[in-house]
């Protein structure tokens, strides 16, 4: 197991528990969505993976090593973390230098560094902007720049806190497609989101956090069916899924429009007048 969380408890102050009894096992190559309403503790949980927060009790093991005994910069080799606001990290004069900061901290120099940086810039589509001043870029581009600066560190695990918030549809899609590609290359991806459409399209597994506890950990298809969980975590399942459910097409939960069409066709073959039911 790449990530193992055992009976994790976390409290900012002694009195109030933010996380309670969290147990997760994440294997190499998974792509997982963390969801839940604001303040549920999903970001707090994610910050344990790269050691920004240490467990009050319990254990977080990354690649078999306890995070409590390692510093954030050590863990950064294995766990990359992209924050919500890219402006919290951008400080260099050029896009190139910004991306180079992470690998430089890892002690990479010269040709190897240049290669890494250019490859990551190419991956996020910012190749042409390498010599620009980062604040010249749009919000979406800055978000991708932040992503590139983590990609360049070649960490096995990548955690992204709401990677598409504040972006338009196309920009959001580009980021998610990029994550999918990285996942296919073998990176383990964990992303936090409120957008169930993204979860349906990209996540193989979703973890629902509510009031500091995990209330569901399964495939999106299964979780979308758990009405109580959806209600408790204030989630809004995709419109397509809702439509399919109202149409009572089949027992299977529908995740996207392609599946919906297929089911409509199947229903038609079975001579059911779907659209009038």
């Amino acid at each position: 197991m790449l990530i193992e969380v055992e009976e994790l408890d976390y409290a900012y102050e002694k009195s109030s528990h933010v996380l309670r009894n969290i147990n997760i096992k994440i294997a190499r190559g998974e792509i997982i969505a963390f969801t839940g309403k604001n303040g549920s503790g999903k970001t707090t949980l994610a910050k344990h993976f790269n050691g920004l927060l240490k467990p009050s009790s319990g254990k977080v093991l990354i690649d078999g090593k306890d995070t409590a005994k390692r510093t954030v910069s050590e863990l950064a080799q294995t766990v990359g973390y992209v924050f919500q606001n890219p402006d919290h990290q951008i400080f260099n004069d050029t896009v190139f230098d910004e991306v180079a900061f992470g690998p430089k901290n890892q002690g990479i120099t010269g040709k190897k560094l240049e290669e890494l940086v250019l490859n990551s810039l190419a991956a996020v589509g910012l190749m042409e902007d390498a010599n620009l001043y980062p604040y010249r870029l749009s919000k979406g581009q800055r978000q991708r720049l932040a992503l590139a600066s983590v990609i360049a560190m070649e960490s096995d695990i990548m955690v992204l806190d709401e990677p598409t918030t504040g972006l338009d549809y196309k920009e959001g899609l580009e980021i998610m497609e990029l994550l999918k590609k990285l996942n296919l290359k073998g990176h383990t991806i964990i992303f936090i989101t409120h957008d169930m459409g993204l979860v349906a399209d990209y996540a193989k597994r979703m973890i629902v956090v509510s009031e500091g506890e995990i209330i569901a950990d399964n495939t999106p298809r299964k979780v979308f069916n758990l009405d109580q969980v959806i209600e408790k975590a204030h989630l809004k399942i995709p419109a397509v899924t809702q439509l399919a459910r109202i149409l009572k097409l089949s027992k299977k939960t529908t995740l996207n429009d392609t599946e919906l069409f297929q089911e409509i066709l199947a229903a038609k073959e079975a001579n059911l007048n779907v659209l009038c039911s």
Partner: protein
């Protein structure tokens, strides 16, 4: 430390005092601590400040701040005893060659300076954490006749301290996640190492300031209409009592000098 200088909602005697009384109180502590110079008397004044914190029912917060301030006080004390050269020498920092003498007077002086700083800082922290921003504005503008723009600047800058603290934390986390380390043997490198934290902070702050100005203008800031205040404060008996007490102690302190 992120709660420093921000209002703490409690119901206490200190909270209910007229803001003017409290601002005079802070200045009174400042005056007293400058007038008095013996460590023992300064200790008594510090105890009074802490006592005020207890009356204000913010004892936990006051003790937390006290802990942080003590560190600074100790640093100041150490600097003072190194640079104070006059009086009876107690020992030398570098004994063999008799360099950097530490004198009895230096130690006294260092303790006094440290205590003074603690008194001044702590009394203002108590003032800030028991007075709401809008009341502070009211006192500054209506009672002390500070021009509204300046009062607003002062109060806003205080209001932003906790915001910047959390901003610094977020930036630190973002850079640490990229393998950033704040280490380095020589001080010059250390200063350079702060760039990844300082630069985003400055840029974010500028953007924040700009947005604040915009938001204020869209809500008719500076339209020239006389301002009114949500809560009208009246000087009550407890305020008069507090001021009489302060005045008499001040007179006593002058007399004892």
């Amino acid at each position: 430390m992120s709660s420093v200088a921000s209002y703490i909602t409690r119901n206490s005697l200190v909270h209910n005092l007229h803001p003017l009384t409290k601002i005079i109180g802070s200045l009174w502590f400042l005056t007293l601590s400058i007038m008095v110079s013996t460590p023992i008397h300064l200790m008594i004044i510090l105890a009074m400040v802490i006592f005020c914190g207890f009356i204000a029912r913010i004892s936990i917060e006051v003790l937390k701040s006290l802990k942080a301030i003590t560190v600074f006080a100790i640093i100041i004390f150490l600097i003072q005893i190194v640079f104070y050269k006059w009086g009876t020498v107690v020992f030398y920092m570098i004994p063999v060659v008799n360099w950097l003498p530490v004198t009895m007077e230096g130690i006294y002086f260092g303790i006094s300076i440290g205590l003074r700083m603690m008194i001044i800082l702590l009394s203002f922290i108590i003032f800030l954490s028991t007075t709401q921003t809008r009341d502070m504005m009211m006192v500054l503008v209506e009672k002390l006749k500070v021009p509204y723009d300046y009062a607003f600047m002062f109060v806003t800058s205080l209001r932003f301290i906790p915001t910047f603290m959390s901003e610094v934390k977020a930036i630190q986390e973002a850079q640490k996640a990229r393998g950033y380390r704040l280490e380095g043997a020589n001080p010059l490198k250390k200063i350079k190492a702060y760039v990844p934290i300082a630069l985003p902070l400055v840029l974010i702050s500028l953007a924040k300031g700009e947005r604040l100005a915009l938001a204020m203008e869209t809500r008719a800031y500076g339209s020239g209409v006389p301002r009114t205040y949500l809560k009208e404060w009246k000087i009550e008996i407890k305020d008069i009592a507090a001021m009489v007490l302060m005045l008499s102690i001040l007179v006593l302190a002058v007399y004892m000098r």
